[in-house]
């Protein structure tokens, strides 16, 4: 241990005080972790939920239609009452493979913390203009939807008056409505694909309700303006999402909002040697949400980007409980190990590995499809044998799918690989 720096020990350290971290910490405490510490870099708990002031949260967990802050507050109250240590305004600078954390804040200063188990719950960040390589100038007035959301909903600032939006992630759709309600003009929302990235209900209640044009198969090929953005060149896109030359059209605007999707934030995970899945951008995890590094668990958007906070809560509860079980040496490390494998039409499956002995009621596999599949089936195979078929009216990459599997089937068949594929009904 390094000299001159205070050392603290906790059974479970949870990194991130958003919905994932809150649920994981509470659950770890409930399941026997004696000391739990949540480390949050912002000045309060709740994470991005605090800026998601719209409703639609909690239908699954609470059977109520809550706003983001309402959903967060329920967990914050529970956390405060359960004797969990909370370090706000605190940054984790590094995690080592032997679960030593370097943390920094203004009141403890720089120090090391030793954890018996760690839960990674850092969430995700937004894809930027540079990540999708939009050429042109670099003026002010180009915002990611989430940054604009924080300015608008928490700080009370307008980011512009005449707005173009590229990308149709949920935050973007919801921001189109919020900006309209606050008096801005949203000129159009562009989707590079032939379908929106966010939930259909958001297309309906955020765009259709306010007559905001949704331009499918369009993208921005150039940003114009020296100091502040003055306009964008919009082009139609072909089947491969590439702009079609000659189709460019100028749209004047003073603001460009980008809603181009989210990327799990795993810089700390990488530092700790956690293995990542290129398909999700998040850690490879097993049924207990444990990563490739023993004692490091992960949950929520740091693992894979969710559409619904309710599922984040579910997943994080499992991670928190598992972390407590790990500390109490109640997680079974051996026994039958099954690998999941995304088959035809499936982009990824979480979890990646299943230790069957740790399953109790049922195994739930979460996945995203690669394209839009109307009226299709999800086919689950244990090695080469079909063990389940599930009919789906409508599947789209914008909406996470899941399927439940009875552990008994796995115990009986003992497959090495569990795969899921999509089959169109007419095939």
């Amino acid at each position: 241990m390094k000299e001159n720096s205070i050392v603290n020990r906790y059974d479970v350290v949870v990194i991130g005080g958003g919905p994932a971290g809150l649920a994981a910490a509470i659950e770890a405490k409930k399941h026997g972790a004696k000391s739990v510490c949540v480390i949050e870099r912002d000045k309060e708990l709740g994470g991005i939920l605090q800026q998601c002031i719209h409703n639609g949260f909690g239908l699954h967990i609470f059977k109520e239609d809550l706003t983001g802050p309402e959903y967060a507050e329920r967990f914050i109250i529970e956390l405060m009452e359960s004797g969990i240590t909370c370090k706000l305004d605190t940054m984790v600078l590094d995690i080592s493979e032997d679960l030593d954390l370097q943390i920094l804040n203004t009141y403890d200063g720089f120090m090391h913390i030793k954890a018996e188990a760690i839960v990674l719950a850092m969430g995700c960040r937004e894809r930027t203009r540079e990540a999708v390589n939009i050429p042109g100038t670099r003026p002010a007035g180009v915002f990611t939807a989430g940054t604009a959301q924080r300015f608008l909903n928490m700080e009370g600032y307008l980011v512009g008056k005449k707005i173009m939006m590229l990308g149709t992630g949920d935050i973007g759709l919801i921001m189109a409505r919020r900006l309209t309600l606050e008096g801005a003009e949203v000129r159009a929302v562009l989707a590079r694909r032939g379908y929106p990235g966010g939930l259909m209900r958001n297309v309906a209640q955020c765009l259709h309700d306010y007559d905001i044009p949704l331009m499918l198969r369009h993208t921005i090929v150039k940003i114009i303006g020296k100091e502040r953005i003055e306009g964008v060149l919009v082009a139609r896109t072909d089947e491969e999402r590439k702009p079609i030359p000659g189709s460019e059209e100028l749209y004047e605007c003073d603001t460009l909002l980008l809603s181009l999707g989210l990327i799990p934030e795993n810089e700390l995970s990488k530092g700790a040697g956690v293995k990542l899945d290129p398909a999700t951008g998040g850690p490879v995890v097993n049924e207990s949400m444990e990563t490739s590094v023993k004692g490091i668990f992960a949950c929520g958007n740091v693992v894979h980007v969710h559409d619904l906070v309710d599922y984040v809560t579910d997943e994080s509860r499992r991670a928190g409980k598992s972390a407590a079980y790990f500390v109490r040496k109640k997680l079974k490390e051996n026994g039958l190990l099954i690998k999941t494998e995304p088959g035809k039409g499936i982009k990824y499956i979480v979890p990646h590995l299943i230790r069957v002995d740790n399953l109790n009621k049922s195994l739930q596999l979460f996945m995203r499809v690669r394209e839009v599949y109307p009226n299709s089936r999800l086919i689950v195979k244990a090695d080469n044998e079909v063990i389940k078929k599930s009919r789906k009216m409508h599947m789209t990459p914008g909406e996470m799918d899941n399927i439940r599997i009875d552990p008994k089937i796995l115990q009986q068949r003992k497959p090495a690989i569990l795969s899921v594929q999509v089959k169109r009904e007419e095939e």
């Binding site: 605090q50 002031i53 706003t67 802050p69 309402e70 909903n153 009370g156 919020r178 259909m200 209900r201």
Partner: protein
């Protein structure tokens, strides 16, 4: 109102059913909603034909809060055409921090029968 079928995307839950709703004298409710996956969807479809309503969430000024704005919501659904009139009223309000979640900020806003309430607690700065 026309008897033409209306394509509706259900906003009740994240499934977002793409439904069709039409007036139908032969059905007991007087309407026929199809391709919905649940009962709530049917009710929503009928409401969209007769009296479309929405939940309004926005912010109000707060002073001296840890942020400049407090998130608020209307604790029920209001007619769609009341959204902007309500916004005009809400934009004029300023509340004092600290405030508790659920506190009523405007009672029976524009006679909708619904209240505007704080959707989080906020400490004073």
């Amino acid at each position: 109102m026309s008897s033409e079928a209306k394509e509706i995307i259900c906003i009740i839950c994240p499934v977002g059913c793409r439904m069709t709703a039409v007036r139908d004298k032969n059905s007991p409710s007087g309407f026929l909603v199809s391709e919905n996956q649940c009962k709530k969807g049917e009710a929503y479809g009928i409401e969209e034909l007769t009296n479309p309503t929405r939940v309004l969430t926005t912010t109000v000024k707060i002073n001296p809060g840890i942020y400049n704005r407090l998130p608020v919501r209307i604790n029920g659904s209001i007619p769609k055409n009341k959204i902007f009139p309500c916004m005009k009223v809400i934009n004029k309000v300023e509340v004092k921090a600290p405030i508790k979640i659920g506190s009523v900020i405007i009672e029976n806003i524009l006679n909708t029968g619904c209240d505007l309430i704080a959707s989080r607690s906020m400490k004073a700065s």
